[in-house]
Amino acid sequence: MMMTRIIAAALAAVGLTATAIAAEGEAHAPENHEWSFEGPFGTYDRHAVQRGYQVYQEVCASCHSMNLMRFRNLGQKGGPFEAEGYPNPNDNPIVMQIAAGYQIEDGPNDDGDMFMRDGIASDAFPAPFENEQLARASNGGALPPDLSLIVKARSGGADYIRSLLLGYTDAPEDSHLSPGQHYNEYFPGGAIAMAPPLMDDIISYDDGTAATTEQMAEDVVTFLTWAGDPHMEARKQMGAMVLIYLFIFAILVYLAYRQVWRNVKH
């Protein structure tokens, strides 16, 4: 019966967790790293986010899209290129310059033709592949995931992404890697289609920072964390205000409670 089979499949999927988890269990726990954005008062290291954007742009973007990002996001409040005097990020000259570096297909125009134009601040980050099929065909069948939310979408978060970027080692002898796969001890199962993306001096930073593999990993993960949670700083600031307000309010109401109940034994 169809019904029983679907139920069986659903329950089996749950049961299969056993194997899947066991397989994942072999992956190393991510290395704990100290981040500028950790803790209740953590903020994004603005320079790291800027450098991280450069790493994304020059290294990751050749395979990975960031479909939820617009160029204007780079200049918004809390963004890496936020500039004084430009409350509207669409007017931000750095953002406009970055966007203008891309050719974007637009249209159709009045003649019904699509045309190319310079990018503007409100354009989305262009995706490297037109569709999933092309992305897979270009990457040996594997789909490079969209990076807009990647830090939130993986348990282990920033630590996991950083460990993964730095976790490439020679494959142990008992591992079975297909052609085009690489060994990474932090990846569930160990076999990952992504080639080691970072190596020393693969890019040269605009701000002169030495582009070591570790530095680039930290920077790009800081950028990706910001991209996944761009309002974190505003959120934590408001949280502090709300908690202080509620704390004082609670004390006042508690004193009122003591006053109201002063003559009542309870």
Binding site: M2, M3, T4, I6, I7, A8, A10, L11, A13, V14, G15, L16, T17, A18, A20, I21, E24, P40, L68, N73, P145, S148, L149, K152, A153, R154, S155, G157, P188, G228, P230, H231, A234, R235, K236, M238, G239, A240, V242, L243, L246, F247, F249, A250, V253, Y254, A256, Y257, V260, W261, V264, K265, H266
Partner: protein, 423 residues
Amino acid sequence: MSGPSTYDPKTGIEKWLDSRLPIIRLGYDSFVDFPTPRNLNYWWTFGGILAIFLMIQIVTGVVLAMHYVAHEAHAFESVERIRRDVPFGWLIQSMHANGASFFFVAVYLHMFRGLYYGSYKAPREVLWILGVVIYLLMMATGFMGYVLPWGQMSYWGAMVITNLIGALPFVGDAIREWLWGGFSVGQATLNRFFSLHYLLPFVIAGVVGLHIWALHVPGNGNPAGLEIKDPKKDALPFHPYYTVKDGFAIIVYLMVFAVFVFYLPNVLGHADNYIEANPLSTPAHIVPEWYYLPFYAILRAITFDIGPIDAKLGGVIAMFGAIGILFVLPWLDTSKVRSMRYRPLTRWFFIFFVIAALGLGWCGAKNPDDSFIGAVKFVHLAQFLTAYYFAYFIVILPVMGIVEKPKQRPASIEASVLGEDKS
């Protein structure tokens, strides 16, 4: 209990309105002068907390619905747009998602309080049953709300749960397709879940109205489990005594809520729900929201056929039975003593019941085949705890009411406050 109204309209407009629609009188009698036992402890503040959270969920939800798009291809992106581009959308969305969890924390504490102090016993059976109805509606609302962001856990959680309906004999397939609006979880499912997710909170609000009505006929229970005999000695007017006490508790609870909203917004969620739903890729580990985990554990604990009922259907029956049994609880407990304070043995069974419920939640989050202790797997633990869960209602409460010798109870609420140590 309600007694004659003491409302005395003073201004002309109040007198005018009172002889036409005595709504101020209703509010006054219900929330100002309402005689409330003087011995209520902080476990009684969760009713007010729940009312606040129902309002928070409705207000944030109405705003979210202005920006949400109930479409397979756009739902995930529209929720991200709310988080990223809608002014304070990150705040509203975080309040709504975490608010659901805090709503359930409060409702579980409210229910455990009712179980401990015998709030379900005569004359409050209808009050209790209405509470169970609200809880069921909350479960349905929460489940459908979790589907709306259309992440991987949304989609696959919906798939697993709706497939449970399919386990019903004869009608299962038809009901499941009717729920789906098709042959799988898809666009039609998402759209109707959105519609129902918007509808049900107002149904909840209506049943809450009945719940409060049913509360105000017999009046509050209380830790001593006694009725008010002399309102002057045993009771206090609701306002200002309990408005200020509830108010304090609400603010403290809101502080804990704020810590999650502002500092831990994703802790109660699942990383996989930040991946857009993909019908072709099943997550390794499908788990429902934390507040369903005990029932998920009960579902998976039935791994054996019972006569003509196969294990899957047995699991579904056990899961729904675990909630259904709450409806008949008032008639299962044979003891006339309401408060566990005066039930020295049953009190311990109750404490184990709470541990069993929490333990079932733990089992629900774990893989059933993982080892609990040595050769004992989590599925075995879940089976033991499921057995205890049902035994508590079917065996322990009926039997203890007959065999247990309760402790001496105080003569009145006033005596319980003045005459002996608070326990």
